[in-house]
């Protein structure tokens, strides 16, 4: 993982591939790598779909090793959705494979002069690129099936669906899972549109003949990894809750806490939540021959993923995540798990961010295009997006555009990006993260649900502003660092509660790279990444005004707790004052 692969899509005579050493980017991985390159090389005021923008795909520092949970891939660019810097993060196989192929980053640059569609293939012999217009407008499942026919089922794919080709701001980038299905997505911020603007449909990764990356101190690494895995297995969230029910274990918990945004953020509790909870979902999966426990990439020990079958026992989609079940479910008043699974499949197939699409359909319901609870209507809307009809183009550009086009006031976005599945009035810590993260509204950027709701890493009253700034700040710093390692963010539950598990992770990094990093070093890395991102956004024109929630969260009280978001603007401005 000592080189960067660059493909200039706008080069004279066709795309030009170059490889270069890491240079100034040495020591960076994942989000650290993507944000460093974007921050340094992309003009912050450029158009996100222009030749000046770049798409950076980077495995984490520990990806491609035998370290557990190290399969997260970071995708960075200037976001077409937010207008700011973006790192979207995905599970699946590609991160491990790319890392083993030796690449610390793929950078797609420039813009092709024609509308040809390209395929990139990377194997032990290096990278090649070729026109493959037969891939045009293929949904992700079909595109991957075509690749499978040509390259076998041992490769990993990074691809876009029709939404990315149409340069929609909600377009995701799909990563294949262990079964070579395009089920894991770098979902947020329209990264797929940037890949589409570069004219690249799919990147095929083949690590045949390559081995695991070797640590500087293999024994120490192995021993630390063992402690790390033990720690994950011992924690109730990573050892029990997530394996048993997946992320959807949160539905009942967040709903009970009154922070489950329902009917486009109108209330904090959904009467039908039990019908779509993780418990119900796991039962359904097991009864139909699917899987309630499953890893999204090799080396995962939490295994929060799953396989969702339809009523006839056929594969319908991977186990929809909590965020997806909420976005298409409670947020839209839809309580039919099969309908939600269908929406999840369509999002994956067309290449769309499930959070943004659910929020967008919620706004469309608010606008009166269809009724809350209309599952069939929601499915039809996703097909409109996939077909690229005018209505589909509106929806495919997200909640903010949809709200603008239909004159809707209640539009739950920050920096143009839709809020995820926790109402900031009832989970005020995550509200601070939504407001201030350089990524736009993003729960993963500083998951204060931990101390607010789950009582992990301490306890902070979710309904009050006290302590939320510090909580969000610490989590945003820690998250930025974790996102640089290639580690799945879910390790954080164990890290926050068990100092010995955090130490095990540190030991893994140190053993792998021959470093002597302490906790401070991790914090410094997180701060460094956030500072680069904030700096990019500032140069793009962002100010404190963009670090705010939509006005209605401070004006309308949320049932059942009858609360508004009470963290003051002046406090929000202190999040990055460390």
């Amino acid at each position: 993982m000592d080189k960067i692969l660059r493909i200039d899509m706008g080069a004279e005579g066709g795309p030009r591939i170059t490889e270069s050493p890491l240079g100034g980017y040495a020591g960076m991985g994942g989000r650290g790598m993507t944000s460093a390159i974007i921050s340094k090389e992309v003009p912050p005021t450029c158009h996100p779909l222009s030749a000046e923008n770049k798409l950076v795909i980077a495995p984490g520092l520990l990806s491609g090793t035998t370290g557990a949970m190290s399969g997260r891939l970071s995708v960075g660019c200037k976001s077409p959705l937010t207008g700011g810097i973006k790192e979207a993060n995905s599970g699946g196989q590609p991160s491990q494979v790319l890392a083993r192929l030796g690449y610390a980053a793929i950078v797609l640059e420039g813009k092709p002069p024609t509308d040809d569609l390209y395929k990139v293939v990377i194997n032990r012999d290096g990278a090649t690129i070729s026109v493959d217009n037969d891939l045009k407008m293929l949904p992700n499942y079909d595109a991957v099936a075509k690749i499978k026919g040509e390259y076998g089922d041992k490769v990993a794919c990074i691809s876009i669906g029709p939404a990315g080709e149409m340069k929609m701001s909600t377009a995701s980038i799909a990563c294949t899972d262990m079964e070579m299905r395009p089920t894991r997505h770098a979902g947020r911020g329209g990264v797929g549109a940037v890949m589409g603007s570069k004219g690249v449909k799919v990147i095929v990764l083949d690590d045949a003949g390559k081995t695991m990356r070797s640590p500087k101190d293999p024994e120490k690494f192995k021993e630390a990894n063992k402690r790390f895995v033990e720690g994950l297995r011992n924690h109730p969230v990573t050892g029990q809750g997530l394996p048993a029910y997946g992320t959807n274990v949160l539905t009942n918990i967040v709903n009970e806490a009154g922070g489950y945004p329902t009917y486009n953020f109108k209330q904090g509790r959904y009467d039908e939540a039990h019908l779509i909870s993780g418990e119900t979902q796991a039962e359904t999966e097991k009864a139909r021959g699917g899987l309630a426990t499953h890893g999204c990439h090799r080396g995962c020990v939490i295994r929060c993923s799953g396989i969702y079958h339809d009523k006839d026992g056929h594969f319908l989609t991977k186990q929809p995540e909590y965020e997806t079940v909420w976005a298409h479910g409670g947020n839209c008043g839809i309580c039919d798990l099969d309908a939600i699974a269908t929406l999840d499949f369509l999002d994956d197939n067309y290449g769309l961010d499930t959070i943004e699409m659910g929020a967008t359909i919620g706004v469309a319901m608010e606008a009166g295009l269809l009724k809350f609870g209309d599952a069939e209507g929601a499915i039809n809307l996703l097909h409109e997006v996939g077909k690229g009809t005018p209505l589909g183009r509106i929806l495919g550009n997200g909640a903010a555009v949809t709200g603008k086009v239909f004159g809707v006031e209640r539009v739950p976005v920050v920096k143009g990006q839709a809020l995820p599945a926790y109402d900031p009035r009832a989970v005020q810590g995550v509200g601070v993260t939504y407001a201030t993260s350089p990524m736009g509204a993003d729960h993963t950027a500083g998951y204060a649900v931990t101390a607010n709701i789950l009582k992990v890493g301490g306890e902070v009253d979710p309904l009050k502003p006290q302590g939320q700034i510090e909580l969000s700040r610490d989590l945003q710093i820690a998250t930025a660092a974790v996102d640089a390692t290639g580690m799945c963010l879910f390790i954080a539950f164990a890290l926050l509660d068990q100092p010995e598990t955090f130490q095990a992770l540190l030991d893994m990094i140190n053993a792998f790279y021959g470093l002597d990093l302490a906790a401070d070093g991790v914090t410094d890395l997180g701060k460094k990444i956030l500072s680069m991102e904030r700096d990019f956004n500032a140069r793009a024109g962002f100010t404190a005004h963009q670090d705010r929630l939509p006005r209605f969260f401070t004006q309308e009280r949320l049932a059942p707790h009858n609360v508004t978001f009470a963290v003051k603007d002046e406090e929000l401005d202190q999040v990055f004052n460390w």
Copy 2:
């Protein structure tokens, strides 16, 4: 003109009408009044369609008097298009009539709880408001015809078309002309959407029984007005060019100067410009029994308006303005005057800003929805807007939204508002105004075409950055002041070249109000208005980053002069440092 009429559309039990004295707003008129009220009373971060926004309609300081040219009406709000403060300005009859009825402003506040549509009637007995759902979705011409049937042809109307009812960000507010046709529009910034969000379809103004407003010193006023009119008649622009050919006299001039934006700002000269020039237009009008010289309101002595008949000699629309002929013509590669006149009529009838719609169709052409030059396609698109189809909703929300939805890079907007008919690369002074005006891209905010192209008020090389900041600054200040008087901006041509005509205007104001205002006082008024507007925008989150042209103007050279916009960012930031 000593009272303000307020209608709280959200009051308990239905709209509540109140009248109050001017209080702190005394001495303000037109844009001064609208910007003062918006700046003081509207929370800058509110949603433009929310109950917190207000729509302010204000005649100018000299409206309703015997003073020539004093019939301009200002409409202000927080703009749904730009997100900043907005004053849009219209000719027609309403300003004079409203002023004679004694109102310095109408303020529509709050938001109705139902979707009832209201009609406001103001006459010598005061104001009344009533539900009239028969008006729903009537185009402006039909709505005014209905009012004519009920109230006769001596009243004046301020109305919105279907676009305003659908709360589209390009919706205008129509004012009736001397023939009681809804041909004059407060076009820019989506003011019609805000009127629509208040649930008000039409304001009927009946000044029967009211007289002209009386000056403090009638003799002095009369004498000054005489000198003022003489000055206007003596200047070649206001005495000859505008009366003979209307504003469209500019087509050949700007095209010759290489600053005529063609094919969505791709080049600065249009080969077919002569087919749609003011000269050709005037000939066509006269040959068909229309009018090439005509005033848009009583008291106009420039008479730059006209009447455009179709091939069969029937009224088709008022004489399309230069901006409209450009927007729907050269900008879209359409060189058929009849098609352009049809587009003008449709804009007026549906209630749309012609500049924004032309620019939007240009972006749609760039996106490949239709070909440049496709007049029939353009007409069909306007019908989509009028019907509110999904495609129509996209277009009806302007060029920026259309560019976003269709993934177009080349989108000519500043602060979300489309650029008018002068390419900022070949008319760099107006580029400074586009970039920095608190209104978004707006030629009327500081019409540097004067010294850049017309050699009025001095000479500044249009292709170079030198001197443009000072030119735009002085013009923006003077314009803000003129916009407060209710005077048509076209008086500025004479004012800039003839000190005695400027003095005559001062004398009129002084004689009317018993003041002793000198030139400094006018400058101070302009600065005060601009400062209020800039302050509102700053509180709404605008910074220097919003005072910039789209990036392509500094990157792509414009034929035939092969120039880019060369005024530096640091210079742009000096416009308001006085």
